[in-house]
């Protein structure tokens, strides 16, 4: 996990729309709006790209086969050479859940890569023992 060189970082801040977005380090994330449809930081934009593209694939894998079965029953219920499954049965009972697992793994890998790109070390989290008593319940641990 090598941190980006300053040169790489320079590159990553040039936006497609040519705007001058400040570098990740200079962004105060608490000042940027959260809106699913209008990402306001480069990080959020990159993250949402992964989210939406994997979400569309997911929707196709999950609802595609069953919808096709309703639209074209003859085509979808043919017996496949694979152990004699009817096609629709295999795609729904095995394909959809397995597809979701594969997409979940892919998403999580990409998301980790995103952390790398922005030089974030998620394991930098300090592990502290929970503070005892009521203080922990109302304040939580205070570090950083």
């Amino acid at each position: 996990m090598s941190r980006d060189t300053p040169a790489d970082r320079e590159e990553s801040i040039i936006q497609p729309d040519g705007g001058t977005e400040p570098a990740h380090e200079d962004i105060d994330y608490l000042d940027r709006e959260v809106n699913l449809l209008r990402p306001s930081t480069p990080f959020m934009r990159d993250h949402l790209k992964i989210i939406w593209s994997s979400f569309v694939l997911w929707a196709l894998v999950v609802f595609g086969p069953v919808t096709l079965t309703a639209l074209a029953p003859e085509m979808m219920t043919v017996q496949t050479p694979l152990f004699g499954f009817p096609l629709h049965y295999f795609l729904v009972s095995f394909g959809a859940p397995t597809g979701a697992l594969i997409l979940a793994t892919v998403y999580t890998r990409y998301r980790d890569r995103l952390d790398q790109k922005y030089g974030i070390d998620p394991d930098a989290v300090e592990s502290t023992a929970p503070e005892t008593g009521e203080a922990a319940a109302t304040d939580g641990g205070v570090e950083q």
Binding site: A70, R111, P122, G141
Partner: protein, 556 residues
């Protein structure tokens, strides 16, 4: 009141070795619960936030896979054919949506319970109370299915009538839960997952192998059997129409993302990265069972037809609902496997039911002790009082669930699905909008939740209650629903397909029409999406509080 359904084909008698297996398993849960027993609220509800990847993945799996997955799923696939697959799809693929939209953000928000999120995010004690009420309702409906599963399996092992069996099993579950909290429960869940997955896969492999159905991959080798099982097993939309299929799958997917006892698992992990990976692991562990479940259903139906000589589907001599619910155990019994082995399969079902009931009761008890009692009634409650109230809730709920399970209105899987459509309609839109659109405000959330609750409750009154209440049954007549058109488009099992989008629209519209939420709340939402690492015990509210220099975060 009708007599509870018994599974006629099930060999009901006392069996020594299976009884010992079940007894040892229960005893080990109690010991683990006792060893890891907790006395403070941190431990009771979020396990000190120190759980790792695979352990949390297994806990997610155990928490998730209830009697509905272990027993009910194969039953649904066996009895409802292609429609049953909607449950497989709905109960697995929803984890992906949970992963990309909610898991890590929830971890960053970092409070204790789901109602906590709703109350803090929308700055409203009323919203908190509504969420806590919904949480209780979900836990209740969901647990009835579990208690019923425990009772059916208990019958096989101990040979008693179903009612005493439900009472005994629920008593043991409640006992161990009241002793330990979430920490004990999490440690137990990893053990419970191992027991249930080993028992289930052993069942599928041994039945498949001994009967000549399959060798090394029963998960797909059952395909060869499908052509012999008749149209009812595989032909699309013969049992239920396309609309209900989609409605069911959709409800189960959004329900997955709205279930408080699922979300709370992400509060227990070390960091948001662990939250993401444990979600992926959880889905994998769940799939180990869900890949094999339709195979078990196919074996079970075929064995039922060979053993009883009748079609599993014919109106006369077909499988009863109760038999469908225990098809996993029945298949092992029909395959003439040794009693101890069938007992092992049955014990796995017990582990599944107990693990989920544990998770549900913990969330219900925290909803009462933390969200209702401490936040609304007595803000100065001591830890001692909170834990006491929590335990009281577990015992009270246990009693209520036990009584309802004597005569449940539907199959195990269907009962559980009702809870999912409630979660998907009422809570999922609050989590989703609350995390992804900072301008969602209190008024919007309240309007949305009230509407969601209304949709679900009317749907249940419309389609489920008539079979309980004579006066309603008379009005409903043949179709079994008061308003047939409402039952067709908003069935209790798929109420979220119409309900969730409506709740989204209303929440957004009301939020736009009313003032924006305070800046501190918006900052809290921003903190949930910021890539900056945060402390293990820190919540979004802490960070915002520190940042603005103000002492306490915007609490109600």
């Amino acid at each position: 009141m009708t007599v509870p359904l018994q599974a006629e084909a099930l060999d009901i008698s006392f069996k020594l070795v299976p009884a010992i297996i079940v007894f040892l398993m229960m005893a080990s849960f109690l010991v683990i619960g006792y060893v890891f027993k907790v006395a403070d609220t941190e431990g009771m509800w979020v396990a000190g936030r120190g759980i790792g990847n695979i352990e949390n993945g297994m806990a997610i799996g155990a928490n998730w896979m209830s009697a509905a997955s272990y027993l009910g799923l194969a039953g649904l696939v066996a009895l409802s054919g292609f429609y049953g697959l909607a449950f497989i799809v709905g109960w697995t693929t929803g984890y992906f949506v949970l992963l990309i939209f909610l898991a890590a953000q929830m971890r960053r928000f970092g409070k204790y319970t789901a109602p906590d999120f709703v109350g803090d995010r929308f700055n409203s004690p009323t919203a908190r109370a509504l969420a806590a009420f919904t949480t209780l309702l979900i836990a209740y409906v969901y647990s009835v299915g579990q208690a019923r599963g425990m009772g059916l399996v208990g019958q096989y092992v101990f040979g008693l009538d179903i009612i005493p069996m439900i009472v005994v099993m629920m008593t043991i579950t409640v006992g161990y839960l009241a002793l330990s909290g979430m920490l004990g429960a999490t440690k137990n869940m990893a053990v419970q997952y191992t027991i249930l997955i080993v028992a289930f896969l052993a069942g599928v492999y041994v039945v498949g192998f001994s009967q000549g159905y399959s060798t090394i991959l029963p998960q797909i080798e059952y395909g060869a059997l499908i052509a012999d099982l008749g149209r009812e097993f595989s032909a699309p939309f013969v049992n239920q129409p396309f609309y209900l299929w989609i409605a069911t799958a959709f409800s189960l997917i959004v329900g997955t993302c709205g279930l408080p006892h699922v979300l709370v698992r992400f509060y227990t992990v070390r960091s948001e990265r662990v939250a993401r990976w444990s979600c992926v692991w959880g889905l994998f562990f769940i799939l180990l069972l869900y890949w094999a479940s339709p195979a078990m259903a196919a074996f079970g139906v075929d064995l039922f037809q060979t053993t009883t000589g009748a079609s599993a589907y014919a109106a006369e001599g077909g499988m009863s609902g109760a038999e469908g619910d225990v098809i996993v155990v029945l298949a092992a019994q029909f395959a003439d496997l040794p009693t101890w082995f069938v007992g092992l399969v049955a014990a796995g079902a017990m582990a599944a039911a107990i693990a989920t009931t544990a998770g549900l009761f913990i969330t219900a008890s925290s909803a009462v002790a933390h969200d209702i009692y401490t936040e609304l009634i007595n803000p100065d409650a001591t830890q001692r009082q909170q834990v006491l109230i929590g335990r009281g809730t577990i015992i009270g709920m246990g009693a209520l669930v036990t009584v309802t399970a004597f005569n449940p209105p539907a199959l195990i899987g269907e009962l559980v699905a009702y809870a999912f459509s409630l979660a998907g309609t009422v809570l999922f839109p609050m989590f989703f909008l609350g995390l992804w659109w900072e301008n969602t405000n209190r008024q919007g959330a309240l309007a949305g939740m009230v509407l969601g609750l209304l949709i679900w409750i009317t749907s249940i009154i419309n389609s489920v209650l008539p079979s309980y209440i004579g006066a309603l049954e008379a009005i409903a007549g043949e179709g079994g629903a008061l308003v047939p058109i409402y039952a067709q488009y908003v069935p209790p099992i798929g109420a979220a397909l119409i309900g969730t989008p409506l709740v989204f629209i209303v929440t957004i519209a009301v939020s736009l029409a009313t003032p924006e939420p305070p800046l501190e709340t918006k900052k809290m939402v921003r903190q949930c999406h910021s890539p900056e690492p945060m402390g293990q015990q820190e919540t979004a509210a802490d960070v915002v509080g520190d940042n603005t220099g103000g002492g306490t975060p915007a609490d109600d």
